[in-house]
Amino acid sequence: MHRRLFRLAGGALAACLVSLSAQAAGDPEAGQQIVMKGDGQGAPCVACHGLDGAGNDAGGFPRLAGMDADYLAHQIRSYNDGSRVSPIMQPNVTKLSEQQIQDVAAYYAGQEVVASTQPAEPDAAEMALGRKLVERGDWSAYIPSCDSCHGPGALGVGADFPMLAGQHPTYIAQQLRAWQAGTRHNDPNLLMTGVAERLSDAQIDAVAAYLSRLPVTVSGGQ
């Protein structure tokens, strides 16, 4: 896309829409410095997400490598404006300037994707449930499929619908529960909130497990 519009829907008012051009792309080299040193106050990104952005499943630290840069930048802004609450992330990004946010995002977006590594023997029934939700949804509970917004193979669509394929399952499950609890509400127009709050615990675990095993076929970068 030549022109990328980035949207933040504020509060319950869908009309409260701020469009800003993210044309002024971040500088990945400057971003790498921030990744290694942090914002001057908190822990550096590298401590949990790694220099390669692979993250860590056990810690619930998401993979950032290969994610859309504007999506990543929006998450950092969300920690700072309170629309995404994390006691771990919040203290570490408060000092970042807008330019630094974009630099960090550009750096991780450009890293090569490494899919989450999972045990060899998944639970077959859980995989089947996960696959059903990802590809078909569960309309009896009014749950559209993941693919219908996150794209075929859940590889992500633009800045608003992030890649889910190959993401760590602990993190995916955590986030779906954060939406349910209201500690994450930085989704445009509450599009994810509605779906997340209709998911059962078993569905959350299944969808997280299945998504984490989906192949990531894209190379790093935009």
Binding site: W139, V157, L190, T193
Partner: protein, 325 residues
């Protein structure tokens, strides 16, 4: 929220979708009493049903696959970016989303749109000719049989010629546009709620060449003869299905306004075009009195053009009158 016996009954009968504290409720219209409410079989039902011949299962599954991913026939039957499932959500089974099974149980019947008695295959052919801006599989062909078989399986156990059907079609807001309907307000609604997926230009979004969010106007969308160009059809679809996962979140007025906005944009020509949009509108006024086709918008007559999108012809051969004279 006051709980009435009726609401409790609804909660028991329909899926209990509305909890007290949800942030995004599923606000669908109440199912009027006395309507037949269909419960379509699931894919798991099909797989488990040993009474269905394996060969038939194959055909039903092929039809299902055609329905969900109709884009596999791009350039053959389909000349825009839509699939059947773009408008018929939930694999064509969802109430208030134009569930497709009534086409099985209520046809053959006379249809006002083409003024003759239609079969199921002919009804499906209509979707390909208008909504998909294409041309249908041949009547009686393997592909048409597969699609018909899928429709018929979805209709399993529905009463034949029952017409009092709950959640059918797209029309619960009525047919007449409100007197104060507004294109300008519709544009505001569109930009706040729809553009994030369907784009400011209505062209939808693709990922790696595959359609994710279907186009709402322009060459990739339904043509001027599709049922969805009727403002009431789009308004009801939007009200009960959009934004995806948030049914009933727009007010009736917002749904009408945004439907008007979307359906006042250009799109491929109506296959019934006579060469003059105003004349074509008059000729098919029983249909077009609900659309903006052949009317003026910003000094232009909507639909006055020769653009058939990527379809290299205007009218598919399958569109022909039928008479028993």
């Amino acid at each position: 929220m006051k709980t009435t016996w009726y609401a409790m009954l609804l909660a028991l009968v329909a899926a209990p979708l509305q909890a007290q504290d949800v942030k995004v409720p599923v606000n669908l219209p109440p199912m009027p009493e006395g309507k037949y409410v269909h419960e379509a079989p699931t894919l798991e039902d099909l797989e488990a049903d040993e009474s269905i011949n394996p060969e038939l299962k194959k055909v039903i599954l092929k039809g299902r696959d055609m329905f969900i991913n109709t884009q596999q026939f791009r350039g053959e039957y389909v000349f825009n970016d839509l699939s059947c499932s773009s408008c018929h959500l939930g694999e064509g089974k969802l109430n208030w989303s134009g569930p497709v099974w009534p086409a099985v149980t209520t046809l053959p019947d006379f249809r006002g749109k083409n003024q003759h008695v239609n079969s199921l295959e002919e009804r499906i052919a209509g979707c390909f000719s208008f909504s998909m801006n294409g041309t249908p599989p041949e009547y009686g062909s393997d592909d048409m049989l597969a699609l018909a078989a899928y429709h018929q399986w979805v209709a399993t156990n529905a009463p034949v010629y029952e017409r009092n059907i709950g959640g059918r079609g797209f029309g619960h807001l009525g047919r007449e546009m409100p007197a104060d309907i507004s294109y300008e307000k519709g544009q505001v609604v569109y930009e706040a709620n729809c553009a994030i997926c369907h784009g400011e230009d209505g062209a939808g979004q693709k990922k790696d060449g595959q359609v994710v969010f279907p186009p709402l106007w322009g060459d990739g969308s339904y043509n001027w003869g599709a049922g969805m160009v009727r403002v009431y059809t789009a308004a009801s679809f939007i009200k009960n299905n959009m934004p995806l996962g948030k049914p009933g979140s727009l007010s009736d007025a917002d749904a009408w306004n945004v439907a008007l906005y979307i359906n006042s944009q250009e799109r491929p020509q109506d296959p019934r075009y006579t060469g003059d949009a105003k004349e074509t509108r008059e000729k098919y006024l029983n249909f077009h009195k609900y659309s903006m086709y052949g009317t003026e918008r910003d000094g232009r007559t909507l639909g006055q053009h020769d653009n058939t999108g990527s379809k290299p012809f205007l009218k598919p051969a399958a569109l022909k009158p039928r008479t028993f004279e």
